[in-house]
Amino acid sequence: MSKQPFTVSTLTTYIKDIIESDVELCNVTVTGEISNFKYHSSGHMYFTLKDEDAKIKCVMFKGYNLFLKFLPEDGMKVIISGYISVYERDGQYQLYCCSMQKDGLGSLYEAFEKLKQKLEKEGLFDEERKRQLPLLPEKIGVITSPTGAVIRDIINVSSRRYSNVKILLYPAKVQGEGAKESIVAGLEYFNSRDDIDVIIVARGGGSIEELWAFNEEEVARAIYKSNIPVISAVGHETDFTISDFVSDIRASTPSHAAEIAVPSYNDIKYKIKNIENRLISNIEDNITRKRYIINDFMRIINSKSPANIIVQNQQYIDSIQYKLINCVNNKIIFNKNRIEIAVNKIDALNPAKILLRGYGYVENKGEIIKSVKQLSIDDKINLHLSDGNVKCRVEDILEDKNGTR
């Protein structure tokens, strides 16, 4: 009555044998959508194939996927041929893929494209309506999960750039049930405040399903409606979501979002210092320029000023005065010379001087005697010599026969 119990291994092997011996399952073709695609460094591909209601784990070994003409990706709808077997260690049955073909676009991707086109047509992505980010936000509202790398990266990068940053975190569900409502509520909440200058909506990398909330129309419209600029940082650099298109700026990563939102303290300080220097050199230049102009005018004014004219006239007068004085002096000197010459001449002709040389003259009753004819015998005459008179009487007159000597 009591059966021998299976070990887990024997049970698993038993199940595996049954599955592998099934005619249908050993050669099966399945359609579905790829998700959670992982291209392992070993060269094997691991992913999940799914439709609305079910999932199956899939593996495509290197030997098979080498022949694929495309790189499978999340959201891709494909037709796969292969067989079902069990991976004993995990007790997991899976589809071992031998070949894969694309089956149109995956439904999620299709929905994404449809919504993208619709919103684009409505103008939600228009560049002109993108809001300018503030240079120095007073407070940054962040909508993301309160746990994990995203909020940590945002806080770290923000604080590094500007140590006085203010961040308000709205803890949101970023995937699965209720995620879109949570993100929309965050956007609405921040818009109800008046101290938030910029909003970052962020989520780390994940599959297209995990990022799906950011492809929802409600989220897109809430971002569009926001009066506060929104930076979207969803997934990795290669992931694009509708939120990225509708937001004012798309950041490639949460760290990048923080870099965009928060200015570098040093950059701004430098900028202000730079402008200050410009102001100072401008005012100095202007004052120097004005001083030059003033100096120029001063020169002109001085040259035309009454004072200058007076000085110039004074100088002219001085020069004339000098000339006059010179002139007069010359005249005086000249006349002095003439007088001296005349005095010398007169002096030389002084009769007294002649008398000194031994000459004398005769005078009779006040008359100077120049000829013997003026005299008669017995005339009393005066002989004047240099040092006195001699009273004489004419005794004889001897006239030269041949006149004056």
């Binding site: 503030p134 140590s163 203010k166 975190l169 102001l279 401008n282």
Partner: protein, 80 residues
């Protein structure tokens, strides 16, 4: 610009500061104008520096208390 200086945004102040610097670089500015601009510029630069340095770092999280009221609490990163 003159009144309510305390209320002007950092960004507007910085923008005005840049405008003033550009404006002052144009040659045909009277000295009075130039001095007025200079004075305003230096005041704005001072304002910007103060604004930049006086802010207090604060990182907080929005939570709901037991009565569903929204409250703001300090947020600290969990250690890895």
């Amino acid at each position: 610009m003159e009144q309510g200086r305390e209320n002007i945004k950092f960004e507007d102040a910085l923008k005005r500061l840049e405008e003033i610097a550009d404006y002052m670089e144009s040659d045909n500015l009277s000295l009075e104008e130039s001095l007025k601009m200079f004075e305003e510029g230096m005041r704005l630069a001072d304002f910007c520096n103060k604004k930049l340095d006086s802010a207090q770092k604060k990182i907080s999280i929005i939570l709901k208390d037991k009565d569903s009221n929204i409250v703001e609490e300090d947020f600290t990163l969990e250690e890895e």
